[in-house]
């Protein structure tokens, strides 16, 4: 074989080897009637998604949903969105704002729930200050619960340095068992994993997230902007189905509970207990998003938490929120 031919053969071989490595990242976008939606592991906040699936609201709207997930935590879901593995996602407001601040091209287009998280602790813990030097778990750094724990500590003149914090290295479904076995003294997480410890009798909800910030936003629906631009009808249909699901939960709590049981495989009393802390909605407020960004920046500046978003990441808050929050779909 001539040297030039050998070189060519090598190049072809290298090309064949390298191209498949990137094929996963550049996979073809979903067909117009199909949408890939992600969700979080066992998160009862995302019940509207389960209800819309279970009751066929997406199908009624003429869309074919390909479910992607569940994801352990929001940041991983946002990475999947950035890598074009997802078109839309049910996710916490914190990772979506974080992703937008990192220049991931997405929009927050609907609310899913307000409130609905809590700091669960051992029975013997009676105040936040009792948690000093204790092991406390949260979902991934940058999740809403991580930020709200920071807010709670700040309100009690404490910081993350006062705890032995395990952010993101204990999965939410494992947190109740970790509390039960004494490996941790508390955890701040989404429902139903607070209700599970309460039902088991080994934990209590020391502080609910609504006590830290009444009516705080929690889960939202996000979409990749390039997907929304080319699939306006699909996104509208998803949000319509989502709205229908939220209304269904309000009007049919018993049926909603049985759907929640089906998706989370938890007992009815656990679901009922969790329901008392979660408010389902499709509404979304730009002011809430603004407050959230201000909180996360100030927590970093005060040294309560390691800075996640800085003022430098969001030089003009109004412009940032106007760009990231798109209310047109819930207003249609």
């Amino acid at each position: 074989m001539l040297p030039s031919m050998r070189k060519l053969a090598f190049l072809v071989f290298a090309f064949i080897l390298i191209v498949p490595l990137f094929s996963g990242l550049s996979c073809a976008p979903a067909t117009p009637e199909m949408v890939r939606i992600g969700y979080l592991l066992g998160d009862l906040h995302q019940l509207p998604f389960f209800v819309a699936q279970d009751r066929g609201f997406f199908k009624d709207g003429g869309i074919n949903v390909q479910v992607v997930g569940p994801f352990d935590a929001g940041p991983a879901e946002m990475d999947a969105l950035a890598a074009n593995q997802l078109d839309m996602g049910y996710v916490g407001i914190a990772p979506s704002v974080l992703a937008a601040a990192r220049k991931i091209d997405l929009s927050i287009i609907s609310g899913v729930n307000l409130e609905g998280s809590a700091l669960a602790t051992e029975i013997g813990i009676n105040s936040v200050t009792d948690l000093k030097s204790k092991k406390v778990a949260t979902p991934a750094p940058g999740s809403i619960q991580y930020v709200m724990l920071g807010m709670l500590l700040s309100q009690n003149s404490m910081s993350f340095a006062d705890l032995e914090l395990f952010p993101g290295t204990i999965k939410p479904p494992d947190m109740p068992q970790s509390l039960q076995t004494g490996r941790i003294s508390g955890y701040f997480v989404w429902e139903p994993f607070v209700a599970k410890s309460l039902a088991g009798g080994y934990g209590k909800a020391l502080i609910e997230s609504r006590e830290i910030w009444p009516g705080h936003p929690c889960c939202v629906v996000v979409t990749r902007n390039d997907f929304a631009l080319n699939n306006d009808k699909v996104v509208t249909a998803v949000i319509n189905a989502h709205r229908k699901a939220v209304q269904f939960i309000g009007n049919n709590p018993a049926e909603a509970r049985s759907i929640a049981q089906k998706w989370t495989r938890l007992d009815a009393d656990v679901i009922d207990s969790a329901f008392t802390r979660v408010k389902y909605t499709y509404a979304l407020s730009k002011d809430d998003v603004k407050r959230f960004v201000r909180e996360i920046i100030s927590l970093g500046e005060s040294g309560t938490i390691k800075p996640i978003i800085t003022a430098g990441d969001v030089p003009d808050l109004d412009a940032f929120v106007n760009k990231v929050v798109d209310l047109q779909y819930i207003q249609r």
């Binding site: 990475d79 950035a82 940058g142 290295t169 490996r183 941790i184």
Partner: protein, 235 residues
């Protein structure tokens, strides 16, 4: 996808800047995360050294016994062959259950990762001791202890050292994986943290540190090997 490229693929300049930020105190000094790459590297190194030391001690002692005495081998080989194929990472849930969070489960996983290569190489080295050498030693009046420690172990030394080098590499990999679960410090945790806060450059900087430390440990062990086994013929 293209719009998100900087987030997905940080440039080498971004990674170098991230390394600088993580090594030299970022933000106001005195904060717990100032110079955090150093602190987490030291934590990871300490864990791996403890786990590796226990693995080396237990692997070599057991390997010598299994490789030298047939009845020990017959007794222990089936148990080892059942445990060996279980990937160390499959032990993570049990490690957390038995040892809680943080240091001890990580050391346990490193021990698991490093133990088997050290053990198997030691067994192989002992079994490969040339029969002639043993016979010569016996003819010259050596007792069984002398034959074991003056002939068997030195003869197995190159194989044991190879096992140690493989063991430390696997132990290091296990450590990083162990720190992703039930941990709140170390290089594995740091990578997870910055992955979660979507700071890809800092994630890659942490990975780079893992590579650098792994390389340095391997090189150091090679130097020790060359010094200890100076009598070997070098290529």
């Amino acid at each position: 996808m293209l719009a998100n490229l900087p987030q997905l693929f940080p440039t080498p300049v971004d990674v170098l800047k991230a390394l600088y930020d993580l090594l030299i105190a970022p933000g106001p000094a005195g904060l717990p995360w100032a110079g955090e790459l150093w602190g987490n590297t030291i934590i990871s190194l300490w864990r791996v050294l403890v786990g590796f030391a226990i693995a080396a001690l237990s692997g070599i002692l057991l390997g010598v016994a299994i490789g030298w005495w047939r009845n020990v081998r017959d007794l222990l080989e089936p148990i080892i062959e059942i445990l060996r194929p279980i990937p160390p990472l499959a032990w993570i849930p049990l490690a957390m259950l038995w040892f809680g969070l943080g240091f001890t489960p990580a050391v346990f996983l490193i021990w698991l990762g490093a133990f088997f290569p050290i053990l198997l190489n030691t067994v192989l080295g002992m079994e490969s001791t040339p029969k002639k050498l043993v016979e010569v030693a016996r003819t010259l009046g050596a007792n069984s202890g002398q034959v074991l420690f003056k002939v068997g172990v030195p003869s197995a030394a190159p194989s044991i050292m190879a096992g140690l080098r493989i063991g430390i590499g696997i132990g290091w990999m296990c450590l990083v994986a162990a720190e992703l679960t039930g941990s709140n410090s170390g290089l594995g945790y740091l990578i997870m943290y910055y992955y979660s806060t979507m700071e890809a450059a800092k994630t890659v900087a942490g990975m780079l540190m893992i590579g650098i430390v792994g390389f340095l440990m391997f090189t150091a062990l090679k130097k020790v090997e060359d010094k200890l086994l100076f009598w070997r013929v070098q290529a």
